[in-house]
């Protein structure tokens, strides 16, 4: 397998894994943010949104400090798995989850907040408990939110660069993702490879967005 393909598959694997994990993590977080009247809510909301405004290098720097093998988290990970959380694929997954968190949380939070109280109370009076209501009222109502969250998380992870450079370096098959490979191709004046990677990413992004918008038309917005 050529080096270009290796980096493309690595990027897709990373983005896919991160997207699935983010949807799982963001669902309860977004639900809490959408429904809670806890005074801590704005604090959590601001923390969640931080990656939107910080330069990726800032995040990368602190994650490097937090996750390196000498840190408590890094050493625990090392004892548990034998691997490292820096300059490794596992480390990229953790970093990408932090970095893309707001892109998963915010669409879900908006979708959850738009589920009418009346519908939830109707479901309650019809005998549906909290989990039942979430699975059968909230999630179907929020399908568009889930699609948006998945697409944004996936493409944002696919496109990240600074944080990967700080946290992962450029280890082929481990941390050398498409954006890094593209950067190195340009640095070494290998414009053929750069064109292939860059044009491929543009095409991929366009097809994905097209598919999403086409799909979204099939799910009407439930406005209340």
């Amino acid at each position: 397998m050529s080096a270009e393909w290796e980096s493309i598959f690595l990027s897709l694997r990373l983005a896919g894994l991160v997207t699935v994990m983010l949807l799982v993590i963001a669902t309860p977080l977004a639900w809490w943010l959408a429904r809670s009247r806890d005074p801590l809510r704005p604090v959590v909301e601001a923390l969640t949104a931080l990656p939107l405004v910080l330069p990726p290098t800032v995040l990368g720097f602190y994650l490097l400090i937090l996750l390196n093998p000498q840190s408590p988290i890094g050493s625990f990970w090392r004892e548990w798995t034998g691997g490292s959380l820096t300059f490794s694929f596992a480390g990229l997954v953790v970093a990408s989850i932090v970095y893309s968190l707001p892109f998963a949380v915010q669409p879900l939070q908006t979708a959850f907040a738009s589920v009418g109280r009346g519908q939830l109370e109707a479901a309650t009076s019809l005998g549906a408990g909290p989990l039942d209501r979430f699975l059968h009222i909230v999630i179907p109502h929020s399908i568009r939110g889930y699609i948006t969250a998945a697409v944004l998380s996936f493409s944002h992870t696919l496109g990240e660069f600074g944080i990967v450079l700080m946290m992962g370096g450029s280890i082929p098959g481990e941390t050398r993702v498409v954006s890094i490979a593209l950067f190195e191709a340009v640095e070494t004046l290998d414009y053929d490879t750069a064109h292939t990677l860059a044009a491929g990413l543009i095409l991929f992004a366009f097809v994905t967005l097209l598919a999403v918008f086409a799909l979204n038309r099939r799910f009407p917005v439930h406005v209340r």
Binding site: G118, A122, T124, A128, P130, D132
Partner: protein, 362 residues
């Protein structure tokens, strides 16, 4: 007191408002909850449903106390088995009509023949495949009522189900609601601020004012009293209850016996003889005569005695309080000039003439 009566002893406070309700809602018949907006009608229902908490008190259906179960916690709302219909219908937008009904039926395990009975009674067969967004306001309420019944509830609560509808659709839906509530085995609470709905659909009434019960008991008596206390000017009215005796299909009129007389009413042909009927009669639609008048088109003539003559808001008018032969009260709004000309006095016997067109059947 039967086993499945709903016993309430509630106290619930919000800034500037306290709800204080201590009563028993019988399993038989429909209990109306009547009052102005802000009187606590909806809060009362939400407390019973468990959607509002932090209230102190007792909510007991039959032998089960919902407010205190084992461990001191109240019974969670989804285990209370309440059919709750609101003015917004609150249908699930991501499901079609069938899906909405199934949502309830799957969780209650209602047998299919009873499901079919509900669908038939509310005439939903042709709507089952529709998305909820394609339904009219009246259809939405019928689906919401059917869905509530599908959950096989022990208690039914309807909160202003007709308030989002125009007058014509209301009349149609009232018939559906009346039929559905007639066979319901448990307590029914029907909230409204509309007198006509109360008279048409409820047997008993709780009159709420600023969160407290002003009156509870028979709907006719309660609302007559309410009307007497609040009536002024155009609001003045009386309430008559009666029973259908016979129909004249040729003339499309029904003979209705009331205490102390007989009146003829339109629009009742679809209801069987023997069915109870209530009427609200606006005071401006009542005319008084000293003697049996000749050559007059008004057919409904009732013997009455004047009990009092009260002042009205408008200086040209006064309110003549009457008692019909059967003891029922009625009010006529006349000009003071007419009262002087006929020299009407309390104690005088008169004939009360009521124009048939003004008798909206309930």
């Amino acid at each position: 007191m039967s086993a499945e009566d709903l016993t309430l002893d509630l106290r619930w406070s919000r800034p500037g408002f306290t709800l204080r309700v201590d009563t028993v809602i019988p399993a038989q018949g429909v209990t109306g909850v009547f009052g102005a907006s802000g009187s606590g009608k909806t809060s009362l229902l939400r407390l019973i449903a468990g959607f509002e908490t932090s209230g102190a008190g007792v909510i007991r259906l039959g032998g089960t106390d919902w407010s205190k179960t084992g461990g001191g916690n109240s019974l969670p709302p989804h285990k209370r088995r309440i059919g709750y219909v609101t003015q917004h219908a609150d249908l699930f937008e991501h499901l079609d009509v069938r899906g909405n009904l199934d949502f309830a039926a799957r969780r209650s395990g209602l047998p299919v023949d009873r499901q079919d009975g509900i669908i038939e009674a509310l005439e939903l067969d042709t709507l089952l495949g529709r998305r909820t967004g394609q339904l009219s306001g009246g259809e939405k309420q019928r689906v919401a009522l059917a869905r509530a019944l599908m959950s096989d509830p022990k208690l039914l609560m309807l909160d202003e189900p007709l308030s989002a509808l125009d007058r014509g659709r209301r009349q149609k839906l009232i018939a559906y609601i009346r039929n559905s509530l007639a066979g319901f085995p448990g307590p029914v609470l029907y909230v409204s601020h509309d007198l006509d709905e109360m008279l048409a659909l409820t047997d008993r009434v709780l009159l709420l004012e600023h969160g407290s019960i002003r009156y509870q008991g028979d709907t006719s008596d309660g609302l007559s009293n309410y009307l007497v206390q609040t009536d002024q000017g155009e609001q003045a009215a009386g309430v008559l209850s009666g029973q259908i005796e016979a129909h004249d299909h040729g003339l499309a009129l029904s003979r209705v016996a009331i205490a102390g007389g007989v009146i003829y009413l339109p629009d009742l042909l679809d209801r069987p003889p023997g069915a109870p009927v209530r009427l609200r009669i606006a005071a401006r639609d009542v005319i008084l005569a000293r003697n049996e008048p000749q050559g007059l088109s008004i057919r409904n003539r009732l013997k009455a005695t004047i009990t009092a003559i009260d002042a009205d808001l408008a200086p040209a008018f006064c309110l003549v309080r009457l008692q019909l032969a059967g003891g029922t009260g009625l009010t006529a709004r006349l000009t003071r000039a007419a009262v002087q000309e006929l020299s009407l006095e309390p104690g005088d016997p008169v004939l009360a003439l009521i124009k048939t067109a003004s008798l909206a059947s309930l």
